[in-house]
Symmetry: C2
Subunit: 283 residues, 2 copies
């Protein structure tokens, strides 16, 4: 308990120190990626490079790549592909002209046979020329658009992680990949639902319109107070729970198949792109 | 000349006869696919099963499948994927619950090393268990939406094939596949351009919004009167040429790489799905 407290306190001061050192909030995506590449920033990316799209990372050996690409094609709401690199390629072209996928993400999780083996700050030593990189859209982008339209986002108000639930909605299987859709929930006052649907519909590349509105039990959610991932949030009287497809889905689905090797970003430590969130609405 | 005339006349009477026999315009997609499967209908599909989405077909051996899927992911406007089947699978799931891709298309073109080898009515004898099937959206769907909104579609008015041009817009290459985007052109009176952009934007799965408006030379088109495919159409005084990404692009790009084998539908002889065009706007 004491050591956990000390760890949290230490992390907090490290974050404050790094913020002070690099004035991270004033930096653009390229400058932040440079710091990350040099090993000078390995913290979560929420709240930095505001306005720019961040992306989830999944790296798989080539033998799983066709099936996973097909899974994403069939399930664009939970798995909105922003960029896919050819086998062995580690430089992005679309999300940024200069990024190196092996070094420009603050932390990586390495899974073997579906189990987290280790967490690392860069991949140069373990990179293989059959690695296929998938970068997927993230709800940070549409939450920014909701906030701009004065639509409340409860978990941000309450300074929590978004509540996520394993739903009973099946994904369309593809090759070796199959599993249920994970959904994130944001409670809304009824008069905000239509604008929220309209706004998020514009962002098909970051989960798009909600997949369900109003009745958690219809999609297999029994207890709203016990999300499968993230934190429970307050649902005020008269508010309606609104569910979006969640980027945890592809990771959950991949882990289920226990591939020999899978590398992802460490949760919260995303790839920061040069693409404006606003540009996502025009893809 | 005489034999061509006789062929045309023969085809016309065959079409009239088949129409009379089967009252094709009154049949639903399943009924039409049944006729096609039984070898009783091998004519073009324009103008039948109105309201339902039709799809372009590309079948490639597995060794080309990841690259082609990636090409489509990177170039969604010319290559809007509606459904992809796993290696060896010939039954659709999404576009129809009962269709057999080997038999339910009126005519197929078989290309070897990029050259048209033959044209057949069914694929059962040559089907291989490494064939991967791609079904791509077709502009018939958005043209129906334009006409419903009283936006003129010139080549339909003039009873011609849409004019198509090889533009100087490069596609994003993927693996072995690369090449320029082929665009289709519809001339519009200026006041119809904004509604046409808005309507076709809703149909991302059938080429979506225009890729260019107004200046053919900017996208490398020298002579509007000489399209690379299809027929020239009248551009009236004051009208503006509007260009959409065209489904000929993926076929042109595939042929350029001269794969050992590639099977497509015979132009005009499309796959008729059970999906309403209107449903495409909600994907």
């Amino acid at each position: 308990m004491v050591s956990l407290f000390a760890y949290c306190l230490g992390s907090f001061f490290l974050l404050v120190f790094l913020n002070f050192m690099y004035k991270i909030n004033t930096l653009n995506p390229k400058e932040i990626r440079d710091l990350i590449r040099k090993g000078k920033w390995n913290q979560p990316t929420a709240g930095i490079a505001m306005g720019y799209a961040q992306a989830n990372l999944v790296i798989l050996p080539k033998k799983y790549a066709f099936d996973f690409l097909l899974f994403c094609q069939r399930n664009p709401k939970p798995c909105p592909l922003l960029e896919v690199l050819e086998p062995g390629k580690f430089r992005t072209k679309f999300l940024s002209r200069d990024a190196d996928i092996r070094t420009d993400i603050p932390r990586y999780n390495i899974y073997r046979k579906g189990k987290l083996e280790t967490t690392v700050n860069e991949l140069r030593n373990i990179w293989m020329n059959d690695f296929v990189t998938f970068l997927l859209g993230c709800s940070f982008s549409f939450e920014e658009a909701l906030l701009r339209a004065k639509i409340p986002v409860r978990h941000i108000e309450e300074n929590k992680n978004v509540p996520m639930y394993i739903s009973s909605i099946p994904c369309h299987p593809a090759g070796v990949f199959h599993g249920p859709m994970v959904v994130s929930m944001r409670p809304l006052p009824p008069e905000k639902i239509v604008p929220a649907v309209r706004i998020t519909s514009r962002y098909a590349s970051v989960h798009g319109a909600p997949v369900h509105i109003g009745s958690p039990s219809t999609i297999g959610i029994v207890n709203m107070k016990r999300p499968d991932f993230g934190d429970p949030v307050t649902i005020q009287k008269g508010e309606v729970p609104v569910f979006w497809a969640c980027g945890v889905t592809p990771q959950a689905v991949v882990m289920k198949t226990k591939p020999d090797l899978c590398i992802t970003h460490t949760p919260g430590h995303m790839f920061i792109s040069d693409l404006l969130n606003e540009e996502l609405a025009l893809l």
